[in-house]
């Protein structure tokens, strides 16, 4: 009989499944579950974008594009970066259109990290960084951020984990799951620590469109940082295009050239229909994105207020579409809280520790839901808290 332990690589066998997945599986077996667990917009992709996709399909524009993506899309991405983070990139040599932000993260890590290199990962964070670093043979080093600092990375926290082996810093802001953002002055302090090193920064800015109050800022805008920063963004969150699988990245051509080779061999090119659609998105749909942001902003205020009224202290997020209330006052662990809530009130939320150890004591709640849905879910959470107190 075949021994699959000898078939499947050690790395793959030892890779942990996402903590998010587990809750999905439980929720699916129960009737009448309402979820606050989804990390994607509840809005449909703006109609103009869908129409552009249909038009191009009708014309039969379905062949491969160039490896780095349609030139007209790369040009739009270049103007987008210029307009939003005031940073110029050459569409011919410094931009790649990727399969979501995820592929850009993977390709960046693979292009830069060598076995034994340390990669600093700011936590709590999206679940993919650690496994991808391990896949490249790197050593993930978590930097835990704290609620009292607004879940921002501080220069001291960074210095503490910086060693001779540090190869890369992964900077995920606006942050999933905390909703924290980094302002220019916070980024400048990080830049001061890194400026004279050879450490590269992978700045995952997938939620950049979704900030409330303060405008998004990239570390690439800080003095001396563009030359060491890979900026990653995409259409999934801001343009409500998760299923189109389309992201983009920009960086110095000395780095992008090598990432392009990995992208070329692994992916060939990003989905053509999605690329044509995205051109329309960048050209004509910024207004619709703003409308979605306004709507998220109302819900954000509603949900933060709701949790605070329920006695679960809730940090006021300034980006993304999550709140990250503390459940420490209940005496339960994140995992216990979420499991009990799911079984007793049929509300699905994600335990904070799914996003790194420092997320313990918190839960992630998405507000990418209608107001009526949020109201119902908050009501049920209120009942749950009454019962366990």
């Amino acid at each position: 009989m075949i021994d699959y332990d000898k078939v499947v690589s050690k790395t793959a066998r030892e890779m942990k499944p996402s903590g998010i997945r587990k809750f999905f599986d439980i929720a699916q077996t129960l009737e009448g579950v309402i979820s606050l667990g989804v990390g994607e917009p509840d809005f449909h992709t703006p109609w103009k974008i869908r129409q552009a996709a249909i038009d191009n399909l009708e014309k039969g524009k379905t062949s491969y594009t160039s490896n780095s993506g349609l030139m007209e899309l790369r040009k739009e991405v270049a103007s987008y970066f210029q307009a939003t983070i005031e940073t110029g990139y050459d569409p011919a040599s410094e931009i790649i259109i990727t399969v979501g932000g995820s592929e850009a993260i993977d390709a960046s890590i693979r292009a830069l990290v060598e076995p034994g290199d340390e990669v600093l990962i700011v936590e709590p964070c999206f679940v993919c960084y650690t496994p991808l670093v391990e896949l490249a043979g790197g050593v993930p080093v978590a930097i835990a951020t704290k609620e009292e600092n607004g879940f921002r990375l501080t220069a001291d926290e960074l210095k503490e984990k910086l060693t001779d082996k540090t190869k890369m810093l992964i900077l995920p802001y606006p942050n999933n799951p905390t909703g924290a953002i980094m302002r220019k002055e916070d980024l400048d302090e990080i830049a001061n620590v890194l400026r004279d090193t050879n450490v590269a920064v992978v700045s995952d800015e997938i939620y950049s469109e979704l900030t409330y109050g303060a405008k998004h800022c990239s570390i690439a805008q800080c003095d001396g940082m563009k030359e060491r920063t890979i900026v990653i963004n995409g259409f999934s969150k801001g343009f409500a295009m998760t299923g189109w699988r389309l992201g983009f990245m920009a960086g110095p051509k000395e780095i992008i050239t090598h990432i392009l080779k990995i992208h070329q061999y692994a992916i060939m090119c990003s989905p053509t229909t999605s690329q044509f659609a995205a051109v329309e998105g960048l050209r004509k749909c910024r207004g619709e994105v703003l409308k979605m942001v306004e709507e998220y902003n109302m819900r954000r205020r509603y949900v933060v207020d709701g949790f605070n009224k329920l006695g679960l202290n809730c940090f006021t997020p300034e980006g993304a579409f999550y709140v990250f209330p503390s459940i420490k006052s209940t005496g339960l662990s994140s995992e216990e809280f979420c499991e009990k809530l799911l079984y007793s009130k049929k509300v699905a939320v994600v335990p904070g520790d799914a996003f790194g150890k420092s997320g313990e004591g918190y839960i992630r709640v998405s507000y990418a839901y209608s107001l009526g849905h949020l109201k119902e879910a908050l009501g049920r959470i209120g009942e749950f808290l009454e019962e366990i107190r």
Binding site: S18, I20, R21, F23, F24, A27, Q28, V33, S35, G37, V38, G39, E40, D42, F126, V127, C128, N176, E294, M298, R299, R301, Y302, D305, A348, V350, L371, G372
Partner: protein
Amino acid sequence: MNELLKLLKTNARLTNAELAVLLGQDEKTVEKQIAELEKSGVIRGYSAIVDDALTEEETVTAFVEVKVTPRAQSGFDEIAEMISSYPEVESCFLMSGAYDLGITVSGTDLRDVSQFVAQRLAPIDGVLSTATYFVLKRYKANGILISDKETDDRGFVSP
């Protein structure tokens, strides 16, 4: 549009406290704004959108296209206001195009609506002709879907 109006148009039952949180304002301010909107006539009223098919009561609705002769002094206003004053008339618009007034009429059954059109509406001085179209099924009214609950294609949990 005013954010407050936008919220009230989608759900007029939100409390002032809820509206205040959603808009990031204090409750007193919201209360004052609503009072002003009501006083100035921007907000004319509040009503529930009911799925008649699920209630005990029988209701029939029709769209009626009405052609009228405008009057010398008041144009279409006088006749439109007169038509609007009937309780059977749910809405009344002055239209561009092939006819003048577009109205919706509701009643307990076909006969009820037909009688209203034939005996009350058509004989009004200045009404030249009417064309009545009965509603078979409503799918959406005032921005609210009447069909079954919207489905969420997304899973329960995703990164």
